[in-house]
Symmetry: C2
Amino acid sequence: MPTIYEVAAAAGVSPATVSRVFNGANVSPEKAEAVRRAAKEMSFTPSRTARTLRLQSSEVIALVIPDIENPFFTALARGVEDVARAAGYSVVLCNTDEDHEKELRYLDIALSATMAGVIIAAAGGNSDLSGLIARKCPVVAVDRSPHGVDVDAVIVDNRAGGRAATQALVEQGFQRIACITGPSDVETATQRADGWRDAVTGNGTTDDRYLRFADFRVDGGATAMSELLALPEPPDAVFVANNLMSVGALRVLSEQGKLPPATGVAVFGDLPFLPLVPIPITVVHMPARHLGTTAAKLLLERISGDDQPARTIVLRNQLTPVG
Amino acid sequence: MPTIYEVAAAAGVSPATVSRVFNGANVSPEKAEAVRRAAKEMSFTPSRTARTLRLQSSEVIALVIPDIENPFFTALARGVEDVARAAGYSVVLCNTDEDHEKELRYLDIALSATMAGVIIAAAGGNSDLSGLIARKCPVVAVDRSPHGVDVDAVIVDNRAGGRAATQALVEQGFQRIACITGPSDVETATQRADGWRDAVTGNGTTDDRYLRFADFRVDGGATAMSELLALPEPPDAVFVANNLMSVGALRVLSEQGKLPPATGVAVFGDLPFLPLVPIPITVVHMPARHLGTTAAKLLLERISGDDQPARTIVLRNQLTPVG
DNA sequence: CTTGACGGTGAAATCGATTTCTGACAGGGT
DNA sequence: ACCCTGTCAGAAATCGATTTCACCGTCAAG
């Protein structure tokens, strides 16, 4: 790894001049050319580490997500990346696995590596962003807005989405509509369940025996579905609050020969890789990529010094009717 | 961001002592305690940037993949992450989008940030790893082994997998077996197609009109399938060389009412989120996570100084029969 | 009582880039 | 001829941690 000093020596100038060439300051054409030749010659790349240390900031933003294997979050990541790259920033992806400890570790890294900012889909509700806030590190919450701290957030209207999905089941004539949602300490999970409750109230059984808190994963969805079907009076329809759990739920329904249209199914969030649509289910489409691009834009604004009070942007979901 | 100097001042010791406390060198219990108290008090975190600059290496490894939205690569990423984290390393994910320029940029970053090592699923065959090699930066190739350079690699037997998948179609009695594979400059694509050719030779039409080079993406798979079906004598079966393209291909087959078992379908690689298995297709299961864990282990060995000649590890695929 | 070893500590050099400060020099106006 | 302005370039300080080197006690062996 050649350094700026070696390049300077080779080009017969001072390190300061080399730095100026690479940062677009005023340098005479001849010296600039000499520097560029020497740099190319020895394939010199300025050390980001040294640069970051000196400037106390880097062009890297951290994207902290709870589950890298969920297509929703990878689509979101693509959105973030597109915007960030266009602005000259690199994105590093941090997978927390819904684990607060891992999350905290990554936030620590973001700080101690003086990253430019953080976009976070918090694991659980009570993520500790206090360190970032105290250090004035720009933060944008996405998909889930953490409890208690006031930061920019980009979310969807979970309650309205849950309500609309459930409402669709009501209109299809189902009577006992169950709900499988995520962990009770995750805001998106409870809000979607609230939407379900809104829609079933007065339109069927609101009985909380039909409500299951699972884990936003395939197996959790399957387990919850099995439990529901084992009830004395099993539900005739189910609203599943995320994409992965719907996979599990549908598997169980399939095993028991109760696939739609026998059972009504509405899902919050899409599964991008279904080769065909053999089964009629209602889907609340999530603008995953837009969540990412929007969050990235907000973050870039903050990074460039914008310090207006925190904003919350609510994107719209779209309901795909049964088809 | 408090520095080691401020902690030293608060604890009444020298910065050297603070450093020693945090790195487990010999320090008297009282001073150590004082340092720890002061550090906690002002919630001090050592600057990774400074540390990295001084040590000329960081505990971060870069994982460079061509498509973060492909479940295969995210599963692989999980594997890498599990092993890396257990060894105290952080993983940063770099998505190249099959773009050589982006890839080169990320490799440059890895170098200039003095990362501990790189695991790369190369975009296209002729990725330029020469910079890494010249700088002796540990590299492990995964899934695809780059052309021309001799580095550790963890791969699967693509040709054997392609042959087995196609052979299964032969045994099911299909006559005109087509092949949809990836870009012709990606090794995995051509090898899988070679496997197809092995199996169809003498067992049906080897006509290269039945061979399509697509892009390893959903839409590419769909387009290729449409073209194949539009042939004067369309194929009665198809071997699709990756998971995403199979989604597109099956969509087209569905639209034309030619879903399996009417058409034979065999796929290299799995789609994890199929809620049910309504259609009988043959799947070559890829050990994605194992590819990741194995690659990470190799890399860690290299990082800790192992300099034996490069190795190639070939993992086994498993054929899931029609079901 | 001297010598050597050793644990504990601080001062200062170091990693590689950026930037301020300063000086040299050229050109234009009076 | 003199001053002022402006451009270009180098010396040196700086970012924050690590580590070498030197030094001081203390204690044990001779």
